[in-house]
């Protein structure tokens, strides 16, 4: 079967990664930053799967890691959302520029 070259997949994942990075840097809203993080995690997942499939088809390591990452991401998001909501309760905003009480 003719396959897509691995490098293309990797470029896709890096594009997704740096989109996430850009979002993470430029957004001021915590929730959108969180979404950017999800993009980043997904790009990593794509990599894992792609490597597993292309380079080490006799193993399942990439799959496992993807699974773990998804699980960790779920945990992370739940905690984050909890923090965000708590923050919102206290400051009535989730803009990171405005919540600077703990800065310095």
């Amino acid at each position: 079967m003719e396959q897509v070259p691995l490098s293309h997949i990797l470029i896709l994942s890096s594009t997704l990664f740096f989109l996430g990075v850009y979002g993470f840097f430029s957004r001021r809203n915590l929730i959108t930053m969180l979404m950017s993080v999800e993009l980043i995690l997904n790009s990593v997942n794509i990599n894992f799967i792609a490597f597993n499939k292309y380079l080490f088809p006799h193993q399942l390591e990439g799959v496992f890691f993807t699974m773990f990452i998804i699980v960790v991401a779920a945990a992370e998001v739940s905690i984050s959302i909890a923090i965000i909501i708590n923050l919102y309760r206290r400051f009535k905003t989730i803009d990171i520029e405005d919540t600077t009480t703990m800065k310095y």
């Binding site: 079967m1 003719e2 396959q3 897509v4 490098s7 990797l10 470029i11 896709l12 890096s14 990664f17 740096f18 989109l19 990075v21 850009y22 979002g23 840097f25 430029s26 957004r27 001021r28 929730i31 959108t32 969180l34 979404m35 999800e38 993009l39 997904n42 997942n45 794509i46 799967i49 792609a50 597993n52 499939k53 292309y54 380079l55 080490f56 088809p57 006799h58 399942l60 799959v63 496992f64 993807t66 699974m67 773990f68 998804i70 699980v71 960790v72 991401a73 779920a74 945990a75 992370e76 998001v77 739940s78 905690i79 959302i81 909890a82 965000i84 909501i85 708590n86 206290r90 803009d95």
Partner: protein, 174 residues
């Protein structure tokens, strides 16, 4: 060019486009929806590569869990139709430059690198059976220990989320 290849490129384009929308959209709800679509198309990629279980997980946890959670939190913290404030140009520029540079650099490295696939090995089918066996195996290549760790992590996250989000009576006063 086979159909699967074409489908890959289509999916890839969709993933990137919706990813970009997630990042650039100034309406937070739209961003969330774009994220949802983007993640869904990633799941599509997984299906394309025959890792059905992961694709399923992606749909269930991400699309079904995480994104919903995010959308809920958006509802909790935003009024509908509210536009996000514009980011500072300098900040945009800086992060844009960094991202583009990173992308360029990574792509260059990736294009330079010659990947050597393992040859003469029998592929393992990434189906639930094999995954489940290896996951709960405690011999070599067994993942039972990470599995337990992840369990504990999830438990901790559960407890943590509750502790953090719980409403304390005196805090509402402030």
């Amino acid at each position: 060019m086979s159909a699967s290849t074409i489908i890959f490129y289509i999916l890839a384009t969709l993933v990137v486009v919706f990813g970009a929308l997630t990042v650039f959209s100034r309406k937070i709800f739209r961003a969330a929806i774009s994220l949802l679509l983007s993640l869904t198309f990633v799941a599509g990629l997984y299906f394309l590569w025959d890792v059905d279980f992961i694709g399923a997980l992606q749909i269930i946890i991400y699309v079904g869990g995480i994104i919903v959670l995010i959308i809920f939190s958006i509802f909790l913290t935003h009024h509908s139709g509210q536009k996000l404030p514009k980011a500072k140009v300098s900040k945009k520029l800086l992060s844009g430059t960094l991202a583009v540079a990173g992308l360029g650099f990574t792509s260059w490295v990736v294009s330079q690198f010659v990947f050597k696939p393992a040859v003469g090995v029998t592929p393992v089918e990434p189906n639930v059976h094999n995954i489940g066996l290896q996951m709960l195996n405690y011999s070599e290549y067994g993942y039972v220990f990470p599995f337990e760790v992840i369990n504990i992590l999830l438990l901790a996250a559960l407890v943590g989320a509750i502790v953090i989000a719980i409403k304390k009576s005196q805090e509402t006063e402030k």
